[in-house]
Amino acid sequence: MRNEEADTGGAPLKQSTYCVLLALGDGELHGYAIMQVVNEMTGGRQTILPGTLYAALARMLDEGLIEEREAPAADASGGPRRRYYRSTKKGLAAARAESERMRALLDVARKQQILQGGKR
């Protein structure tokens, strides 16, 4: 785990990056589908807009957190040719590390009774 953290620089992930990684999970999605999944998984509380999304995708490709995949042959939704993305091992590790970091922060919040569900 230490190594994986070192790979991502150990720094907290940008929120957009974290959202994309969570949305991708271990599946393959195109850009618009990622927007939809982010919206659905946060119950509409959080949206990611195309500008932020595609800047994040370009950055994540450079950092090796995600990789581009061949578009499946049966993509009958029309529109321009879409790129599909998938998390790399490094991306999954980064998402895991970020989640751990979040959980540690949540634990602190619970202990201080800022968040309900902690020890009383």
Partner: protein, 898 residues
């Protein structure tokens, strides 16, 4: 709203817009549509999206500028291109793997040939070639025509001593290869390669012995020997006090007076694994006894090296040596009238073969370079396909200000990465596999495949040259995409066509595979045939022992030594017949002789064997007419020859051959042929013979259909090395004892000599496995050619499809089915290769006609069909990926550009 969003997109750098602009706009529009569907407010979302795209775009611009600054600092543009190429290749692993393997094959072949050529032509270690020279006899007039060479590298002993003792400005040293039997103080006797040399041999070579003073110049000294470092280490127990001790060489005690340096093998490149003993020339058996060659000018057997004295020029020395030989010619016109001499610079393969060897090395390297060239052409085809599919990206780069030079560099970086990885793979195979094999076998291989600095430099240079060769053409072609067309059109290729040179090479490669496949099949069939074919002699129970009749320890002449051995052998249990001959069927020693029928203009080539009485009975060869060679065929009587049925039908079609006369050109002396020694040209002469019998046909030196053969009397034409042959029902072990007993009274070390006996069955087995090996190698050659052809076709058809995407899209839009498109593309691939395959079939037909092959029946057309079908099958397979790509072209892609 979309128009406004498109405007806001300009906040992003143009490269980002080119890649993602359409998708971003599409996502924005879909999100808007979704909100409208769900009756959610649209305007706040749109405003948020405008702000978001502007903010993210500016952020992206900042990031790009920063990245470029860092990149420039860290790598420079070349490093960045290489890193990018590596990343790009990682995403297309299939392409990278195929390219690296095929480049590995191409570069590996060239490296292998470089290594082998260097090992066979390179200067042998320990020799100082500075002023080293070789003395050659230069034949004149008719002698030159007879030897059919510009020089003779052997001298008669008296001629050698004449130039040695004259003042010519050259320190002359003589040498001749031989074999010797060493009996170390501990351990068993072995036969080793030895060299008889003048006492000044090592000084002339400029070699300092690792131990010991070397030979004393006096002929009166007791027998001396210099041993190789290897022999000292492996055979003589690496004893530190070796100098001055005694070993038995050819049953005579010899004092060890020197050990050569560790790496010294001999003075020529072909001296490998190398000699183990050096003995003084004056101890050579040829110079003692009643048949001594000391004053014989008829037989040439000494080779001569020399070192120019300081200040002497080679030209002057050559003149001096020539004038010495002119003097000898005046005194001995019968033997020397047509002999002059010259001093030639030392060459690692022998000065006589200097030009031949360079030519051979040149041809070998040229073939290897041709293979690499073909691989390069294939690769350049594949790079074209790749570049064509990335044309849009290249156009974008050009549009945002990349210079053409920068684009070429970017494209070449990928070629360089591929060539380097391919070269590394090839080099690892060439240098790694033999080392691994040697480690596995537990003994060093003969050719050392150790990479050194020049070899490493050659490999790196090769990789650079290769990458330039296959990368430059695509880089030049695609570094100026027509920007507008490319940006508008996703169809790729920009309307370019596949180059003619690529089409031709692909076709030629598919064609080249055909003859190899056919020949592989022919050899396999030949192997099948010979397993059941009649060899023409009966190998069961035939035992043969190679023997040098002049090397016995008695003073008797070689002919009577041979007769006594045969007589002794005849007495052994189970032996039914005994004979002798200078060769055996299937001994892989081709002994070609020119045969001319009196009055006929053109000579015929026939395989000749010199045989003793009883040859045909012993070998189990039927005599069809007349008689065999008998005891009556002695020197002084009429020259007798027995010819085979094949020769009889060719030279006297329909006539009676027995009693007729023919003229043969036999070598004056026959020397043992061994690839380790330079072959020697020996004068030959024409002689008239009377045909006394006709034998049945039998195999010659190699397996195959019956070739013309003839048999002359060994007694009339003695040979220095012969086989004593016995037919016996006894088991091999008993025969080894019988041979040893037969030799024991005449030869020292009879046990070592008897161990060399072979059975005819073993020769047959060796020939058959040789044939099977050739069959396998031909098939491997055909397979490799097919593999390369597949890559070439893959590239060409792939590029064809890439350039015709729009046309294919239109066809599909107009109603062509996917099957139609698939079929059309595959048909194109077959059309491309069919000319090559047809040419290959023609070549195979000619090649098969050149070979001697039993069967021209049904098997031959079957082989042609199978080879052509296989080649075309591979072509179809290679075209399949591109054809499938074509069949899935979306008509919309083709239409959008219009």
């Amino acid at each position: 709203m979309s128009r406004l969003y498109r405007l806001a997109l300009r906040a992003f750098p143009s490269s980002h817009r080119a890649l993602y602009g359409d998708e971003m706009l599409d996502a924005f529009e879909r999100a808007l549509d979704a909100r409208r569907r769900d009756r959610l407010p649209v305007l706040p979302f749109a405003i948020a999206a405008y702000v978001d795209v502007t903010r993210a775009g500016l952020g992206e611009r900042r990031r790009q500028a920063q990245r470029e600054r860092v990149g420039r600092r860290a790598f420079g543009s070349v490093g960045r291109d290489l890193a990018h190429a590596l990343r790009a290749l990682r995403t297309s692993r299939g392409f990278a793997a195929v390219s690296i393997v095929s480049l590995g094959i191409g570069i590996g072949v060239v490296i292998l040939m470089l290594v082998v050529t260097r090992a066979s032509v390179g200067r042998p270690p320990g020799v100082d070639p500075g002023s080293l020279v070789e003395l050659l006899v230069i034949p004149q007039g008719s002698l030159r025509a007879q030897v059919n060479d510009w020089a003779i590298d052997t001298w008669s002993y008296p001629d050698f001593t004449a130039v040695r003792d004259a003042n010519t400005g050259v320190t002359v040293t003589g040498w001749t290869p031989a074999q010797a039997i060493v009996r170390p103080p501990e351990g068993t006797a072995v036969r080793v390669d030895a060299m008889y040399v003048s006492p000044n041999y090592f000084q002339a070579l400029g070699l300092r012995l690792a131990r010991g003073p070397g030979f004393t110049a006096s002929e009166a000294a007791p027998p001396e020997v210099v041993v190789s470092h290897r022999a000292w280490q492996t055979r003589l127990g690496a004893l530190p006090g070796i100098i001055g001790s005694t070993i038995l060489v050819n049953s005579t005690p010899h004092v060890i007076v020197g050990v050569t340096p560790e790496h010294f093998r001999g003075h020529f490149a072909q001296h490998r694994p190398g000699f183990e003993l050096w003995l003084p020339l004056h101890q050579h058996p040829n110079l003692s006894g009643p048949n001594s060659l000391r004053y014989n000018r008829h037989i040439d057997w000494i080779q001569v090296l020399g070192r120019l004295s300081s200040g002497a020029s080679r030209v002057a020395a050559s003149g001096a040596v020539a004038s010495v030989m002119a003097g000898v010619a005046q005194q001995h016109p019968a033997t020397n009238a047509l002999k002059s001499a010259a001093v030639e610079p030392y060459c690692s393969t022998g000065a006589r073969r200097r030009t031949d060897v360079r030519g051979e090395a040149g041809i070998v390297l040229a073939v290897a370079v041709m293979v690499l060239l073909v691989v390069c052409l294939n690769m350049s085809g594949m790079m074209m396909v790749r570049a064509a599919s990335r044309e849009r990206e290249l156009a974008v780069r050009l549009a945002i200000g990349a210079s053409r030079r920068r684009l070429i560099q970017y494209l070449l970086a990928e070629s360089l990465v591929l060539a380097t990885l391919g070269g590394a793979l090839g080099a690892a195979a060439i240098f790694g596999l033999p080392a691994a094999l040697a480690a596995w076998l537990g003994q060093p291989l003969e050719i050392a495949f150790t990479p050194d600095l020049p070899m490493l430099a050659a490999c790196i240079g090769l990789c650079f040259a290769t990458s330039l060769f296959f990368g430059l053409l695509p880089a030049l072609r695609f570094s100026r995409p027509r920007v507008l067309v490319a940006l508008r059109d996703e169809a790729g290729g920009g309307g370019r066509r596949v180059g003619r040179i690529h089409r031709w090479t692909a076709a030629v490669q598919a064609g080249i595979a055909v003859p190899f496949l056919v020949i592989g099949g022919v050899q396999l069939d030949q192997f099948r045939e010979t397993a059941s074919a009649n060899l023409g002699f009966d190998p069961a129970g035939v035992f043969a022992l190679p023997l040098d009749p002049s090397a016995s320890r008695t003073d008797a002449d070689p002919a009577s030594v041979l007769r006594s051995v045969q007589r002794e052998l005849q007495r052994a249990d189970g032996v039914t017949a005994v004979t002798a001959a200078n060769g055996l069927p299937l001994d892989m020693d081709s002994r070609r002789t020119r045969v001319v029928r009196d009055g006929a203009p053109a000579p015929i080539r026939a395989h000749s064997t010199r045989v003793a009485p009883n040859y045909f009975e012993t070998m189990g060869v039927p005599l069809l007419r007349g008689r065999g060679i008998t005891r009556d065929d002695q020197p002084g009587t009429e020259m007798a020859v027995v010819i085979s049925l094949a020769l009889a039908t060719r030279i006297f079609p329909g006539g009676e051959p027995v009693g007729q006369r023919i003229t043969l050109t036999l070598d004056a002396t026959s020397t043992p042929t061994d690839i380790r020694w330079p072959s020697r040209s020996t004068p030959s002469r024409d002689q008239a013979f009377t045909i006394v019998g006709v034998s049945g046909d039998l195999v010659d030196a190699y397996l195959g259909p019956p070739e013309p053969q003839l048999f002359v009397a060994l007694a009339q034409h003695p040979a220095p090395r012969v086989y004593v042959v016995a037919r016996s029902a006894a088991p091999p072990r008993a025969m080894a004892t019988a041979f040893e007993t037969a030799l024991s009274g005449l030869y020292a070390d009879a046990d070592v000599l008897a161990a060399n006996a072979v059975t005819a069955g073993r020769l047959v087995g060796r020939s058959r496995s040789e044939l099977a090996m050739w069959s396998i190698w031909s098939a491997v050659g055909g397979g490799a050619a097919l593999l390369l052809a597949a890559l070439g076709i893959f590239g060409v058809v792939g590029f064809m499809v890439a350039t015709r995407t729009r046309e294919i899209g239109i066809r599909i839009a107009l109603g062509a089915t996917r099957t139609h498109v698939l079929r059309a593309v595959l048909l194109d691939a077959v059309k491309l290769a069919v000319w090559g395959v047809a040419g290959g079939l023609g070549l195979a037909w000619l090649w098969v006609r050149e070979m001697s092959w039993y069967s021209f029946g049904l098997v031959e057309p079957l082989l042609y069909t199978a080879a052509a079908a296989l080649a075309l099958g591979v072509v179809v397979l290679a075209g399949l990926p591109a054809a499938r790509r074509a069949a899935t072209v979306e008509p919309i892609v083709a239409m959008r550009a219009e």
